[in-house]
Amino acid sequence: MKEEHKEGVQGHEGGAHGHGEKYKFGMVIDLDKCTGCGSCMVACMTENNVPYKKNETNKLDSITWMRVFKATNGKPYPDTDICYFPRPCMHCEGEHGHAPCVSVCPATATDYNYETGIVSQIYTRCFGCRYCMAACPYHARYFNWWDPVWPDDTKESLSPDVSPRMRGVVEKCSFCFHRFQGARDKAYAEGRREITENEYQTACTQACPAGAIVFGDLNNPEHKVHELKQSPHAFRLLERLGTNPKVYYHSTRSWVRRAGDNYLTNERSK
């Protein structure tokens, strides 16, 4: 992936080790809009050739790059309230790209791209030690416990842009990186050096019927996410751990914001 960046359309101010960022792709998810329908999960699986099992009842070993978690305020009826947390990979930046998973991978099979802020996974290099999974507090990383098998009639609908993964390696959400590559190629062909906000959108963003997911460049003031992340109601999951995620959540309900992180018993939430 890195090699492709070297020849990318962008200039090189975001060189691999300069720690300057050309882009910083991220999401803002409005939890007050999310109905928990799961369209994002379905779109993600289809887009990224995510394999599935014949029997999907055991969720502890099935792969869901985007997964919708359910949280409740713990109060009895009629005060009970629920909230759904769609959880893609957070593409943590940590401190200077020191994401929890990137720093631990012994074979450099996962990488923090300083040009896009995307945490990649190199499937052909991963040897399946699962240390990155132990490191990720969001459970955003999944292991291929089985060989990927698609029923014959569904093989035709696999995406040619995303390589399928083999048994024994770890995979996770890539912010639909292939779409970024596509958008960049198109821009290059048209003689442009920049891609527009609409040209690169993730599958989950486009699939959300409620429009709860907004995707874009967090550094770019012209992108919607730039403004949305600054809302006083915006927060990130487990921010206190220092993971520095690029996925923001938004909710006007204070208990939802509190559910996004750990607090001591009498501590006030953010």
Partner: protein
């Protein structure tokens, strides 16, 4: 492992890590070579 792997870059971590590693490997290598060579000459001389 080796500097021609494409993401290789020199930093303090590499120097410390590979310094320690090759230090240990050198001792093992030199030690075993010494023992083998000495054995060869000892046997040739008909010692022991």
């Amino acid at each position: 492992m080796l500097p021609f792997v494409f993401e290789w870059h020199w930093d303090l971590g590499h120097v410390v890590f590979h310094g320690g590693l090759w230090y240990a490997l050198s001792i093992l290598g030199i030690g075993m070579t010494y023992v083998s060579v000495k054995t060869y000459f000892d046997v040739k001389r008909g010692g022991h």
